[in-house]
Subunit: 342 residues, 2 copies
DNA sequence: CTGTTAGCGCATTCAA
DNA sequence: TTGAATGCGCTAACAG
């Protein structure tokens, strides 16, 4: 008799001989009835096994669900295992959890936001969705949207100054005009394959990668080094497999590079591995810099010199922008993490 | 004029001079109207910017949302960064994505499932929720539930034979009756702190940890080694910080252990690190075995000898159980991964 | 302070 | 094949 019935607001009200509005108020608007009455009703409901108004119905009626779509830039498989994304999610969830907001995972590679848009109060986007259609829809929706590492007009966003950061870290890596520099880029091209870039005109505009590339090139130019176009690689996603291919190509090319500018720590770690395999000493024979500041960049040997983005803090910040209905974006600070790799 | 209106089934039907049911049928039940008419309607809707029935209302009406709660054993912060959990999620999401099911993240440390139960079609649980109240509620709900690494009566589950696996790996680690064994256990006690166990009666019953412990002890007994009770540690969660404390305590205790049986790879990795720090050679001075088979266990040096749980496959399997309404549980195979640590 | 009522947007009978 | 009516479970006005 425990699971006696699937109570509804109406049925429970009937049972208690009060109007359904009173029960509703007891749960949602304490000020609308006496404390005593409210407690009686709540107690009776608990007793009978009614745990409060149905959330789905509530959501339909109120137009608010306390569910937010967490838009990952690509498919879930990849993003969950990416240390940067995980760290960001950690930051986001620490805030949403506190506000009773639930997160619905959503892949940026999906066809359309239509399958979830009616369920959620808005979208927290971690990186630009790989499907441009999604960005369009995000632009068009009237739900709340906040973004990280890319911008949508009229929406709050958080981002570091990628060009400046890349410039700084590259300056640190480049020692002389005779350095042989290679760039291991992340998502520079709209191509799902590891390959060289060759033509800078192919580089996607306004992306994080493009800004970092500008920073690298600026630093090189300033140091009197010219980076040939066959010294720039495109890596489609930040995984061991794809990165190692690029690292191998780069390190086996002639002249062998002595500076590797990597657009993510994972790429840098793959390069470090490859360097070890080849018997290259880091940083004596090869200097490597990364980007992101993931935990492993501190634990590996030698540790990585890299741009620390403070991803968890960025995650917290963007989530706070969401709950506070903030509109303006924010450029967040980064720090240079001094490691042994350069 | 693009974003002209927020169409509803009713308003769009009115606009098209058909009944709302017809539009509904056009979207949901193709067999209920002529192909031609359907296509006309669908085209007109697309034209006007109506993207189909409101999902929230549909969910209320049909009692189905295509959203499933992914119940993580603890808070999101921890679980997302745990390599085992990430891998499982990868497996789960590969299946759910294929079936158009969205995942709602839910922390096993939450107070109650009530805040989400009305939104979701069911629950996929990754490991036993730390809050026992959640398990009770999961037991009581009439929504679909499937579990991994713990069981709920009447629900499908996947799990390896933890005791047998622990037994096997321990047998491999123990070489002689003179071995000095220490066990670094994971969640053996209901205590949020790293500490020694001392009293075996305090060990939580029917948990994954308890089964593994039985396997270890069985192997030790069989090999003629007695494991003193002050040689068993409890680690509250599988993180670097907590694990390293236990590893340090164990390795600095007297007599210094020469065999470390670790209940997770992360713990084993922390121990490996600590061993390096102390100048102990692995496996000559100290043999270490892990549990799980995470990716890093293969990349570290020396690589870990461990129980490979095939977590991604387990994730896929449990998700398939969910979509197929499977009822019975399944004991999944494990393999022993031979590494250099033992 | 309490109860009545009209939708939120939709899917499903049941007639036509 | 189509259309009118009913209610999924709830909340917010409003009236009492």
């Amino acid at each position: 008799m425990e699971t006696k019935k699937n109570w509804t607001l109406k049925s429970i009200a009937q049972k208690l001989n009060v109007s359904s509005a009173t029960v509703s108020n007891a749960f949602n608007r304490p000020d609308q009835l006496s404390k005593k009455r409210r407690n009686e009703i709540l107690a009776a409901c608990a007793e009978l096994g009614y745990f409060g108004p149905n959330k789905a119905a509530q959501s339909l009626r109120k137009g608010k669900s306390n569910i937010v779509a967490l838009v990952l830039s690509d498919n879930l498989e990849y993003m969950i295992t990416d240390p940067v994304a995980s760290t960001v999610i950690t930051g986001v969830s620490s805030i949403t959890e506190k506000h009773g907001i639930h997160l619905l995972l959503f892949a940026g590679s999906s066809d359309s936001i239509n399958s979830v848009v009616d369920f959620v109060d808005g979208f927290i986007c971690i990186g630009a969705p790989t499907n441009p259609q999604i960005i369009k829809e995000l632009n068009a929706t009237d739900k709340k949207v906040v973004t990280m590492d890319f911008a949508i007009e009229g929406c709050a966003s958080v981002m570091i100054d990628n060009q400046q950061a890349a410039y700084e870290i590259a300056k640190r890596a480049i020692n002389s005009a005779n350095d042989r520099i290679a760039i291991l880029g992340l998502r520079l091209l709209d191509i799902e394959q590891t390959c060289r870039v060759y033509n800078l005109d192919d580089v996607l505009d306004y992306t994080v990668a493009s800004h970092r590339l500008k920073g690298y090139l600026q630093a090189a130019t300033e140091s009197g080094v010219e980076i040939a176009h066959d010294r720039i690689w495109n890596i489609p996603e930040s995984t061991q497999n794809t990165a190692v291919i690029a690292a191998r190509e780069a390190l086996s090319s002639n002249p062998q590079p002595n500076v590797l500018l990597c657009m993510s720590d994972r790429i840098a770690l793959a390069a470090l591995n490859e360097a070890n395999r080849l018997g290259l000493r880091v940083p004596e024979d090869l200097r490597i810099v990364g980007f992101d500041g993931i935990e492993e960049s501190r634990n590996c040997s030698p540790s990585l010199t890299t741009v620390c983005q403070h991803s968890e803090e960025k995650g917290r910040l963007i989530a706070e922008f969401f709950v506070n209905d903030t509109q303006e974006g924010q450029v967040t600070p980064y720090t240079i993490q001094e490691g042994g790799s350069c």
